[in-house]
């Protein structure tokens, strides 16, 4: 195979393969509230997600850590970072989150990727209209 040949070439370069080695997944999400309310702070936002995870998976299943890397209060969008093992749990908890303070809400997941860089260059967002 090409790769094997490449490494055998006179000490030119070295190739390493990290297969499924990323520790985290990153999610770009947006919160939609039926009431159109906008004043949710970053801490409240994280609390909302933490409680959604705990509701679905309980104390033990919900005890994984995730980070809110950035949060835009005006648009209610955020970028989350979560360990791979928690991704399915976090994602499904976000999917099944249906209300905030007794008002209907929904979380729209815009992109999920094991690379944070991929979130900054999504060609599906290339809008030419």
């Amino acid at each position: 195979m090409r790769r094997a040949d490449a490494t055998e070439e006179p000490a030119a370069f070295e190739r390493r393969v990290y297969r499924n080695a990323a520790a985290h997944h990153y999610m770009k999400i947006g919160l939609v509230l039926e009431s159109g309310e906008r004043n949710i702070g970053a801490v409240q936002f994280k609390q909302l997600i933490v409680s959604a995870v705990r509701d679905l998976y309980g104390e033990v299943g919900g005890a994984f850590n995730f980070d809110v890397l950035c949060y835009d209060e005006s648009a209610l969008t955020a970028v989350l970072r979560v360990y791979n093992s928690g991704l399915v749990k976090l994602w499904s908890a976000l999917t099944l989150l249906g209300s905030y303070k007794n008002k209907l809400c929904a979380v729209r997941v815009m992109q999920v990727s094991p690379f944070l860089l991929a979130l900054s260059g999504n060609s599906r967002e290339l809008d030419l209209d």
Binding site: W91, L96, V109
Partner: protein
Amino acid sequence: MALFMDLNVSFSEDKTVLKNIIETAAHLGYSTVAINYTLEFHHKKQEIPKPRPVLDLFEKLPVVQGKSKSITVLNRLTVVATDPSHFRPTAEYKAFDLVAVIPKTEKLFQAACMNFDVNIICVAMSEKLGFFIKRAPVNVAIERGVFFEISYTPAIRDSTLRRYTISNALSLTEICKGKNVIVSSGAEKAIELRGPYDIANLGIVFGLSTEDAKDAVSTNCRSVCLHGKTRSTAFGIIHTMKKSQPANKTEEEDEEEEEEGGPPRKIIKLEK
């Protein structure tokens, strides 16, 4: 690997609500939605609803997000059956693109799997399943190309319903091993809809594999739609129409569909 579909959004008399749901579905990336009319038997002679033309709602159907095509809207009838007499495939059924049944008892579930002329068997999600799902009837249904449906909106509405949904879904996927399952919303409001990739992930919680879960909102739904078309044909082979339209093409598609529904054995039967 096929278009994303949500084959169950609830019909609403309120036009703005229904319109809103369809617009949101298009925005989330669904290429096809089916408006669901439920038929429940409260008294003996229940009238079968008639599907409303979609053009009443929209002059121009909304464009699917990220594409240049507009959304397709189908009609579906769901019969809630508590008694075998409730399911009577009459001419009225033919007005719908898809027919589904919610069997309430084990006997009816078996009957639905074995010989009801339906496209979708819904496993009730908003209540505790009163019976065990058995492998034999499920296998027959899979062979016949009938699909099982999991709706996720009850799980969004309330934590008790969520428990039922997940446990019922798990007992279903355990038996059918991820085959012939579709996941749809059953949404009554636009905000209850979720995106197709979210549902593909939710499918994992319901006991499907990553790829099976994605099939449950795409490939499997396509098979359901094709199966729906065969109800108006004889054995999925011959289809008569009043006008002679591109007849060749329809025949081909229908035949091919039969093959898809079931495993290879079915094909051999057909070829005989």
